[in-house]
Symmetry: C2
């Protein structure tokens, strides 16, 4: 009954160079995704801070927390990293503002966000779903893909 020790499958598959290349490419792709994930939080925060400054004149941790769906201490902790990375300026117990570098990143993110949303809508996705999915998708859209999206949405005015 117990044949679990018969090791099935082929062990002598000597991978051809082509397959090794493919494996390496795939590994790179996965590594990129993991890397992208590390900057996702930074992008989300910076994008949101820019929005809040535009609409409220300032970005308070409590508002960031509400918009992001996390608790204030989480915001404090993550903002500290943004400060370390030179994206954000802060004084204790005061609001948060973007540095020049932060503004540049926010602008790029918001542009990319708009293009992704527009593309999804152009493909027939309803705007609510488009907004929702874009939040996750945008961080994984390369520059090349963004160009393709942009051409697609503009070329059908």
């Amino acid at each position: 009954m117990d044949n679990s020790h018969d090791r099935p499958g082929v062990r002598d598959v000597t991978l051809a160079p082509a397959d090794e290349r493919a494996a390496a490419d795939q590994a790179d792709a996965f590594a990129s995704v993991r890397n992208a994930h590390e900057s996702e939080v930074a992008e989300d925060y910076v994008e949101l801070i820019a929005e809040l400054v535009d609409s409220n004149g300032e970005a308070r941790p409590v508002d960031l927390a509400e918009r992001l769906g996390v608790k204030p201490p989480t915001v404090t902790k993550n903002i500290s990293r943004l400060v370390r990375n030179g994206l954000v300026r802060r004084e204790r117990y005061r609001s948060i503002f973007l540095t020049e570098k932060g503004v540049a990143l926010a602008d790029a993110c918001r542009r990319r966000h708009r293009i992704v949303v527009a593309t999804l809508i152009a493909l027939g996705v309803d705007s609510e779903t488009a907004e929702r999915d874009a939040e996750g998708i945008e961080h994984h859209v390369s520059d090349e893909t963004l160009v393709a999206f942009e051409q697609f949405v503009t070329s059908r005015g």
Copy 2:
């Protein structure tokens, strides 16, 4: 010189219900992304195990590690979680196989992956970039968006 205690911006912004709703929706969207991230690893592993079983007859941790671009101990640790979640079957020091549930998830993932790649290509992205970006995008494509993608790629022969 030190005017840092002047708190700039408007504090009396009483959020209208509409804005509160928008904030809650945005918080939900971010929460979804965080949630999606938790299942990304599971999806990547299951998808890859299915591929390896198809092509090699078995999925060895060392091959998974190579394809994923991580070290073998990482694979062991993550596979343990998949076992806990009933997606994978394993015996110590032997290859890894999918459970029925794992096969179902792998099939859904591979289908979604194909559709995302096809959509990107249809939008003018070169196939290499499409493959790369899809690896990150696929986890954030909702069912509604997937339907839209599918119609788009089929409706243009």
